[in-house]
């Protein structure tokens, strides 16, 4: 601003008009404090209205919000005109919608943190439920000693089963997407694949679990329950997600890059491998990570394919396995000690918190991976 005034005063013969004290362009605007005054008034009236019907927090919040919404739009309309009044109404409606959407999330996080934190310790993380019986739980409740038994076996089961599901889904899903985008444009086969991928997206997870259980049951006999069967079930759920996200990422790679590569005399498969996929890899990687986050919390397909275990099993090709979701399910539904359920409940909440941490870590990794692989823009 200072340069402008010096410029003006430097020009001889051009008079600079004085700056008006009250800007006429800013006429008819509510002062900044007005909206806070309306909010304060709405809260007071809301509290009063809520007291009339028997005070509680929910009705207090709802009444205040409604009163604020109406008052703010009416007052703005009166002071600033119809257009700005409508603008105010929609702005505050959208804020309200945002708050409504966030409340459950905050509430879930708060509850899980509150109930899960006491049980989340190194003993819980690094020991299994092997040998932990109802008698052990009864004893720890009676003596007031810390809860014995943990979710190490379930953590390992979750990691191994998800790892195997990823190992199966990523190559299948990525190759399918490469075919759809790079080779199959307009062909009947690619239309059929797109259709079936869409259908697969809608498969209920228990059906995927039953499919895997039945499929391996047919090959290996009726009681074929092990980690790899669960991994196959999860990959049935993962593959469509991986195909879809990879397909979208490959589609947004500019065609010019493919043409540039072709024009250098590079073959199609090398172009895909060295130009198209590296350009899209950050999106593909975050898509895969989100697909993992999606299946890591599945319960039903694990129960029917890998069963339940209380001891550590690192071999996905033999014996039953537990994952965190099935661990939670089992602890809540059939507490280890039917008479003292508190230790089981505590373990379940701790496992839930751990599961949320794992999913959050995966989401963070997805962002990190995306930013690491993203094409550099440096100068």
């Amino acid at each position: 601003m200072s340069t402008m005034t010096t410029n003006q005063s430097n020009r001889p013969g051009v008079p600079t008009p004085p700056v008006r004290k009250r800007n006429s362009l800013a006429k008819g605007k509510l002062p900044k404090w007005a909206i806070w005054a309306i909010a304060a008034g709405a809260i007071i009236v809301g509290a009063a209205a809520s007291t009339l019907t028997g005070f509680n927090v929910a009705s207090f919040a709802i009444y205040s919000a409604l009163i604020f919404l109406v008052a703010a739009s009416v007052i703005t309309t009166a002071a600033e005109g119809k257009r700005r009044g409508k603008n105010a109404m929609w702005t505050y409606l959208i804020y309200a919608a945002f708050i409504v959407a966030v409340i459950p999330l905050v509430s879930v996080l708060y509850t899980v943190l509150e109930k899960g934190m006491p049980g989340l310790n190194s003993h819980f993380l690094f020991s299994s439920m092997n040998g932990v019986t109802g008698a052990v739980d009864n004893e720890s409740v009676a003596n007031g000693t810390p809860v014995v038994g943990g979710a190490y076996h379930a953590v390992m089961g979750t990691l191994l089963i998800t790892l195997w599901a990823t190992l199966i889904s990523v190559p299948v899903g990525m190759l399918t997407a490469v075919y759809l985008v790079e080779y199959g444009q307009g062909k009947a086969l690619s239309k059929a694949i797109t259709f079936f991928v869409d259908v697969m997206t809608g498969i209920p997870s228990i059906v995927a679990g039953l499919f895997a259980a039945a499929f391996f049951g047919m090959i290996l006999g009726p009681n074929a329950r092990m980690g790899i069967v669960a991994a196959v079930a999860l990959s049935v759920l993962m593959i469509p997600t991986v195909v879809r996200s990879t397909e979208e990422m490959l589609k947004i790679v500019p065609n010019e890059l493919r043409e540039a590569s072709f024009a250098l005399g590079v073959r199609r498969w090398r172009t895909i491998l060295k130009v198209v996929i590296p350009t899209a890899i950050s999106g593909i990687a975050s898509g895969v990570t989100l697909a993992i986050a999606r299946v890591i919390g599945e319960t039903a397909p694990i129960l029917v394919t890998a069963g339940i275990a209380s001891q550590i099993n690192m071999n996905v090709f033999a014996n039953w396995m537990s994952t965190l979701p099935t661990f939670i399910y089992y602890q809540i539904l059939t507490p280890t000690s039917p008479t003292n359920i508190d230790p089981s409940v505590q373990r379940a909440w701790a496992a839930a918190l751990l599961l949320i941490f794992m999913v959050m870590a995966l989401n963070l990794i997805a962002r990190l991976v995306a930013s690491i692989f993203a094409p550099k823009k440096g100068r």
Binding site: E256, R258, E259, A260, S261, A263, L264, G265, V266, K376
Partner: protein, 259 residues
């Protein structure tokens, strides 16, 4: 190096649609040939048939002959990949590979094809190609930086360096300056003049002054109306096209009285 191109009665199709009809043209080695004409007249489409890039588009096909020093590009058993490694192409929008450094962009033709190249040979090739594209002095201190960080004009010269690094016989340019400012355009035009010493250059341009400045011969393409195929109207020395065209349509176009 620098081969001649002879096209005999070429028809270019998009599926059933005839886009360019009956083009016959002889392009001399070590010359610059400019294609001019209104938008949609098929000059870019025709250019892309000269290194078989046209068939990359689904449904793209041609009838007729394109001879590179007597070898038919569309003959039986000809691998389009071989054709494209001998006839390079520079596109309208600069398109360096965003995942690669400046150096890797220049070496793209070698590295993407999986050929092994020693470090000293690679460095020599990078320097030679970048010097050939008049870009060496501007980027020699930041060869490991991404190519997308360069200015538009530099990116386009990087694309030219990338093209000449595979040692083609012919370089096709599809409106190489239309996305660039006048100074970058001048740099590219100077470069085209130098490239002429070693390569056969074919350039599509909307800028008639540019055609007049850089080319030895000019071909004028036109289209009778939408949905009709584009045709080669006149092909002659650039001076003749601009000062003394034989066809009325050419005269109208170059004098700005088109349409």
């Amino acid at each position: 190096m620098a081969k001649r191109i002879d096209v005999n009665d070429l028809n270019v199709y998009y599926s059933k649609f005839l886009a360019v009809e009956g083009v016959s043209i002889n392009i001399e080695p070590k010359s610059v040939t400019a294609f001019i004409g209104p938008s949609g007249c098929g000059k870019s489409t025709f250019l892309r048939t000269l290194n078989r890039m046209h068939e990359v588009i689904p449904g793209g096909r041609v009838e007729g002959q394109v001879l590179l020093d007597g070898d038919d590009l569309y003959g039986a058993g000809v691998d389009p990949v071989t054709v494209r490694s001998q006839i390079g192409m520079v596109f309208q929008r600069p398109n360096p590979f965003p995942t690669m450094s400046i150096k890797d962009n220049v070496l793209a033709g070698v590295k993407l094809n999986g050929q092994r190249i020693s470090k000293s040979d690679a460095d020599a090739l990078v320097e030679k190609s970048l010097r050939g594209a008049n870009l060496w002095n501007e980027v020699k201190d930041r060869l490991d930086k991404p190519g997308s960080g360069l200015s538009g004009g530099q990116q386009q010269r990087l694309c030219i360096a990338r093209t000449i690094a595979v040692k083609p016989d012919v370089i096709l340019m599809d409106e190489p300056c239309s996305a660039l400012d006048p100074i970058s355009t001048l740099a590219i035009e100077d470069l085209i003049n130098e490239l002429k010493n070693d390569y056969t250059v074919v350039i599509v341009t909307h800028n008639m002054q540019q055609a007049a400045r850089v080319s030895d011969k000019t071909a004028f393409f036109n289209i009778a109306g939408t949905g009709k195929p584009g045709k080669l109207i006149e092909y002659n020395d650039t001076a003749a096209i601009f000062s003394n065209p034989e066809q009325k349509a050419t005269e109208d176009y170059v004098s700005g009285r088109f349409g």
